[in-house]
Structures are given as structure tokens and as C-alpha cells.
């Protein structure tokens, strides 16, 4: 079964927009249920962690370079550096390590 790419894009855009829109327009009161609040609070951390590791190790041409980039990103992020800086320096370390190897 072949799929139309524009239908894919419209499906994802529709779902994503509704998620953003519905709370803004429908729910005007504070969410009281602490379980839902807690679940939603943890979601980005779990999702992004699952997406990052181990996928990050296969992202670059060389696995050791990726591991180096991963370590650099974790250390910089731990020191509270900005998204931009962490991203860029992770890229730079991959570039340098791949140059050496």
C-alpha cells in the first residue's frame, strides 16, 4: 500500500495543531488532577531521553565520535549551557573527533 506524503503531513499537522489548540480554547480552568499533571510533566523527559539514546550513537559516521559528542553535550547541558551552544559544540566535537580518527 503506497502512501501520499501530503496526507502524512496533513495528518501530523492536524494532530499537532489540535493538541495545541484544544487546551487553549476549551480548558480555561487549571488542571486539578495531580496524576495527569504529573504524567504530563514527566512525558517530555522520558520521550526525549528515549529518542536520544541509543539513537545518538548511530547518528554520525563514526560511533566513537558520536559517543564523544554525546558526552560533550551531557556535560555542557549539565552546566546549564543554552540549546544553541550545546548543539553546536556537540557537532564541533564530532567533527574534530572524526578528523582525528
Amino acid at each position: 500500500m503506497s502512501h501520499n506524503i501530503y496526507i502524512y503531513i496533513l495528518v501530523m499537522a492536524g494532530v499537532t495543531y489540535l493538541i495545541r489548540l484544544l487546551p487553549l480554547t476549551l480548558i480555561r480552568k487549571e488542571i486539578k488532577n495531580n496524576y495527569i499533571k504529573s504524567f504530563l510533566y514527566y512525558v517530555p523527559f522520558v520521550t526525549l531521553a528515549v529518542m536520544t539514546f541509543p539513537a545518538i550513537l548511530d547518528a554520525t559516521a563514526n560511533r566513537w565520535a558520536a559517543l564523544g559528542g554525546f558526552i560533550v553535550a551531557v556535560l555542557l547541558a549539565f552546566r546549564g549551557q543554552s540549546l544553541f551552544k550545546v548543539s553546536l559544540l556537540a557537532c564541533l566535537s564530532v567533527f574534530v573527533i572524526e578528523l582525528i580518527i
Binding site: M12, V50, G69, A73, A77, S87
Partner: protein, 257 residues
């Protein structure tokens, strides 16, 4: 009217760092979109209609694998569910004097970064401030995508390889700072990564697609964490607005954590 223009200008100014960050990430997205077989128009169309990093990267995998539209919808729903919480928060901060229709436009620009910047503003939120942020962020996101698709093949392999790690660097920069001094959050992040590794390596789980792996692990780990460790106010460094509310709630409960 004048207030609106001032708010818009402030938004544009505060949006510049977002623009730069988005440019680097969407450039990588453009490269990966090209590798996944998308045309420049398709990639830019996806960026301008979705404006979501993780969702779009996951979408490339789904499109490449020619998975079902249903899997696409569920993956986007789970990955972007966090916007729901952010929208709830923004809905309570938006200036209630402004026309209801502003909420339809503001909703389009709810991303991790725009949310993070806008809820940190003191007092009520003028929708024009969000429009200012969006005026900087959206061009950064779409232009980066376009240049990524177009120049992906011109750039040397080494640079593409290096840039491919940018999105993961950004993810780490989002999740790690709040985990500093918060052992629980640090543990949850480590468990998530470990489980993700197990799911990838163990052949028992090999039939599960990448998209559903994210869904299953997120629902499982975040669900259990919410059950065992309901949020307390100090966990919410990132979600300023909610921490205020929790602090108020805690105060009204007599200061109990």
C-alpha cells in the same frame, strides 16, 4: 494598539536566540528529510505546518517505513502531548481582555522554546508578544529546513555527519538542566535511556517499530513515575507557571509538600 506593537517588538527580540537554535536544528532536519526522500517543497511544507522538532524527525522514519497514517497520528499525539500541558499553562496566562480568536493563532506557535520564553514573562501575556516570538522562530525553522534540503548534498560528508548530532544535543540541553539537583528526574532520564537501549538491542522487541517504541516507553515510564512520584513544586523549575500554581496549592494545604 501601541502596546501591541511594543509587545510584538519585545517578542521578536527575545525570539532571536530561538531563531538561531531552530536554524541549526532545522538545517539538520532538512538534510535528513532529503535523505528520507522528501523534496524541498515537501520538507518546507512539513516545517511550516508542524513547527515541531521531535515530531518531524519521527515523521521521517514513519514516512520512510511507509507506515500507516494511524501510526503517524498516534506517534505525533504521544510525542506532542507535552504541548497540551504548555497550552493549558498559556491559556491561564493569556490576557483575557483580548479577543478569543487570538488563541487560535497563539496555539499554532506553542513549542518547547516559545512556551519556555513566554511563560517566564511577568503578569498577563499579550498575544502579540507570542506573535513576535513566532515572527523570529518560524522563519528560522523553515529557512533552515530549506537550506538543509538544498545544500545537504553540497556540504562535505564530515560536516553532515557532525550536524546530524545537533538535534540530540538540543534534546539533551532541554532535559538535563532541570535534572540537576533533582535525583528523581536524573534517574527517570537514565532509566528511559536504558530501557530504550534494551528495546533496541533485545531481539524480543525487534518487531516493535521505532515510533511505537517511543509511545510504549513514554506511557509506561511516565505513567509509573507519575503514580509513584506525583510532582512536587521543586520539580518544576522549567514550568514556572505551574510551579506557581503548585506553590499556591501547597500553601493552601498548609505548606505540606
Amino acid at each position: 494598539m501601541k502596546d501591541n506593537i511594543v509587545a510584538w517588538k519585545n517578542g521578536v527580540k527575545d525570539g532571536v536566540p530561538i531563531l538561531l537554535g531552530y536554524f541549526a536544528v532545522s538545517f539538520t532536519f532538512g538534510i535528513m528529510a532529503k535523505n528520507a526522500g522528501l523534496t524541498p517543497f515537501e520538507a518546507v511544507f512539513m516545517s511550516i505546518t508542524n513547527l515541531t522538532s521531535a515530531g518531524q524527525f519521527a515523521a521521517l522514519g514513519i514516512i520512510s517505513a511507509s507506515s500507516t497514517y494511524f501510526e503517524m497520528a498516534v506517534t505525533q499525539f504521544i510525542l506532542n502531548l507535552r504541548y497540551c500541558l504548555m497550552s493549558c499553562s498559556i491559556s491561564q496566562k493569556l490576557d483575557s481582555q483580548k479577543n478569543f480568536w487570538h488563541r487560535f493563532l497563539v496555539a499554532f506557535g506553542v513549542t518547547d522554546e516559545i512556551f519556555g520564553v513566554s511563560v517566564c514573562k511577568n503578569g498577563t501575556l499579550n498575544p502579540f508578544y507570542n506573535y513576535g516570538l513566532m515572527s523570529a522562530a518560524i522563519p528560522g525553522w523553515t529557512l533552515g529546513t530549506l537550506l538543509g534540503v538544498l545544500s545537504g548534498s553540497i556540504l562535505p560528508d564530515r560536516i553532515i555527519s557532525a550536524l546530524s548530532i545537533a538535534i540530540y544535543g538540543m534534546f539533551l540541553a532541554v532535559i538535563i538542566p532541570p535534572a540537576r539537583g533533582n535525583k528523581l528526574l536524573a534517574c527517570i532520564i537514565m532509566i528511559s535511556m536504558l530501557m530504550s537501549l534494551l528495546f533496541t538491542k533485545l531481539s524480543v522487541f525487534s518487531w516493535i517499530s521505532g515510533g511505537f517504541k517511543i509511545i510504549i516507553l513514554t506511557v509506561l515510564i511516565a505513567g509509573i513515575a507519575a503514580l509513584l512520584f506525583p510532582i512536587k513544586e521543586e520539580n518544576e523549575e522549567e514550568l514556572t507557571d505551574f510551579s506557581e500554581q503548585s506553590a499556591q496549592a501547597a500553601a493552601s494545604r498548609g505548606g505540606a509538600k
